[in-house]
Amino acid sequence: MSAYALEPVAKAICDALGYTFGDGIGSGSFKETFSATQPDGVRVALKVLKPGCSTERSDREVEAMKRCAHPNIASLVELAQIEIAGIRHPYIVEKFMGGGTLEDRLRTRLIRRGELLKIGESLIGAVGHIAAQDLVHRDFKPANIMFADTEGEAVIGDFGIVRDLKRESITKTYFPSGPGTPYFAAPEQLTNDKALIDWRTDQFALATTLAIAHFGVHPYRWDGEDENQAIARVANRSGPSPTFVQLATHAELPALIKMLAPWPVERFRTPTMLLEAWRDQRGGD
């Protein structure tokens, strides 16, 4: 039996669209993802929402993706729903990223400095574009960073917990923490300081992702500590570990250190400032 409960639904969608069904490639809280091929041979990712998960949050995900048009942001091919046995299944079709995710790459090796700068620059562009739409992605992490092919550009996907700053927040103020993946989240996200959430929250998560990808260690994780202790240090705004600061300084990555400052005001104020500072690090390559 398939590990994907929604595989029959995905196959039905493929039949309806004339796609060739491929494989199950991922599963999250709200949806399962499958690969498929369009009649013209172009591969796509088919995301089927779990029953009952067509929530305001998933609506916002789709709206956010529609608003974004950037080469480093996953693009929406189609959004629709299919009814099977009286149950409606909304689904999303996105461009397929054949190069896998950053998480896949990190299973075999850390990324080199040159790759770090290239991936970083691409994703800073994406962060800036998302910010310009008054959106905060809130889930930058290796699993959500994909590549079209082995040499391709990095692309950020999965807007499942996107925050639209122009609309009322879905997360209740009294919650102890906001949605996100704790290991990559910024302090204001972990502590649900909603007024502090903005594009700089993505800046922090991107930097955490890049730091882990290059150095193999969470920037707030002190020697001998575990993941939970690193998360607690982020939530307490204790600042990056001395080991990380030393590594990043030695690697001539001052912008990466600044991106990881515990308070948003201490990070880069605008995406343009961040991009300039990031590019200035090229000299050390």
Partner: protein, 382 residues
């Protein structure tokens, strides 16, 4: 960067006094003047080159402090019943911009109230007002200034200074006008080191994030704001006139006539009454900065009649303020230098024979040590 003058109590002419040209800007007060008076002030100030004229709409307490505000088009007619929503502010900002474009100041500050409490929501509202002002002013010659109102008592919590700075740095505007609200007793210097550290932390955080802070209604504590990195500090004629506390220098009924003259002495970082000045002078404790002040000569030469000394005292303080702001900005003196000297001079005063008893019991220099602590500790305030 140059000091700014907060115009009030007919002080606009002081900016043209020989010796006070170091002031590089003025904050205009529609609370105290009707439109025709502000227009006249702007007309005269336009004679000065590269001079900043900042129009502050002064809606801090629109329901209780009106004075001349009702004569301004942007002053809301429904202030008694309004809910202060985003839409309500938007209408005011649009009218404020129309007023500013008509008058022609170089800059206009975003409107803000002094709230009962200071939650995050209040600061998000300030940012919203600032960003709207910035958007409406685009394409004009008038520059926007982001107003920030902060409660000193809240800043005792160091996390609060950083969270306020984090929210205010969402503003698209780089120039900020920081209005500090305090509960310091009248006739006293700001002396709570925790409040001072929090305010310094806030200033430093905003400045390091790329925003330029002008601290409104400053007094001698300006030296601390400069140490924290404030781009400009503004002061009024009555030196420690704090906009939101009752001041020992406030004139009865808001008009002239009742103010006591004080001499600001840099060697003590203190305001001295006339007889205190004579005692300190007799011990040779006056600073060079004070005696070289162009407004000190006639004061010290022969103590003039009270009224005349009063006028000199305003100028004497304003000269010190602007000159010291400049000296601190260009690095020819540091806040630490000034505080160390003041601490030593107060020690001399305490050990002198015969003793010097200041006219005011609390004029004892206690705040100098608190300021030294604030200066030393604010970078570690977390």
């Amino acid at each position: 960067m140059p000091a700014y003058h907060q115009i009030g109590h007919d002080s606009q002419n002081l900016l043209f006094d020989e010796g006070l040209t170091r002031f590089g800007g003025a904050i205009l007060s529609p609370l105290n003047y009707p439109p025709e008076d502000i227009a006249a002030q702007l007309n005269r100030l336009s004679e000065r080159e590269n001079f900043v004229t900042l129009f502050d709409p002064h809606l801090y307490r629109p329901q209780s402090e009106r004075l001349h505000l009702p004569s301004w088009d942007y002053y809301p007619k429904d202030v008694e019943t309004a809910d202060f929503t985003s839409e309500w502010w938007a209408g005011i900002i649009d009218k404020l911009v129309a007023t500013a474009l008509q008058l022609g100041p170089t800059a206009v500050a975003s409107p803000a109230i002094v709230p009962k409490t200071f939650p995050d929501e209040f600061y998000l509202g300030l940012v919203e007002n600032g960003n709207r002002l910035e958007a409406v002013l685009q394409g004009t010659s008038v520059k926007p200034t982001q107003t920030i109102v902060a409660n000193l008592v809240d800043l005792i919590n160091p996390q609060r200074a950083m969270s306020i700075a984090s929210i205010m740095s969402k503003s698209h505007i780089e120039e900020c006008l920081l209005v500090l609200i305090g509960n310091t007793d009248p006739r006293r210097e700001l002396a709570d080191p925790e409040e001072l550290k929090g305010a310094m932390k806030l200033i430093a955080a905003l400045e390091s994030g790329g925003q330029r802070v002008t601290v409104a209604t400053s007094s001698s504590e300006m030296i601390l704001w400069k140490a924290a990195g404030a781009t400009n500090c503004a002061t009024g004629k009555f030196f420690n006139l704090r906009r939101f506390t009752i001041s020992r220098f406030e004139e009865p009924g808001g008009r002239g006539g009742g103010q006591l003259p004080y001499w600001f002495e840099e060697s003590l970082l203190a305001f001295l009454r006339q007889s205190d000045l004579l005692r300190v002078q007799a011990r040779g404790l006056l600073s060079d900065a004070s005696t070289n002040n162009p407004f000190s000569a006639s004061t010290l030469g022969s103590i003039p009649a009270k009224e005349s000394w009063l006028r000199l005292s305003w100028r004497h303080f304003m000269y010190w303020f602007a000159e010291t702001e400049f000296r601190l900005s260009d690095g020819s003196v540091t806040t630490e230098d000034l505080l160390t000297t003041a601490d030593e001079t107060w020690a001399t005063v305490a050990s002198s024979k015969p003793k010097i008893y200041m006219e005011e019991r609390d004029n004892n220099g206690d705040w100098v040590r608190q300021w030294m602590r604030a200066l030393e500790e604010y970078p570690y305030f977390s």
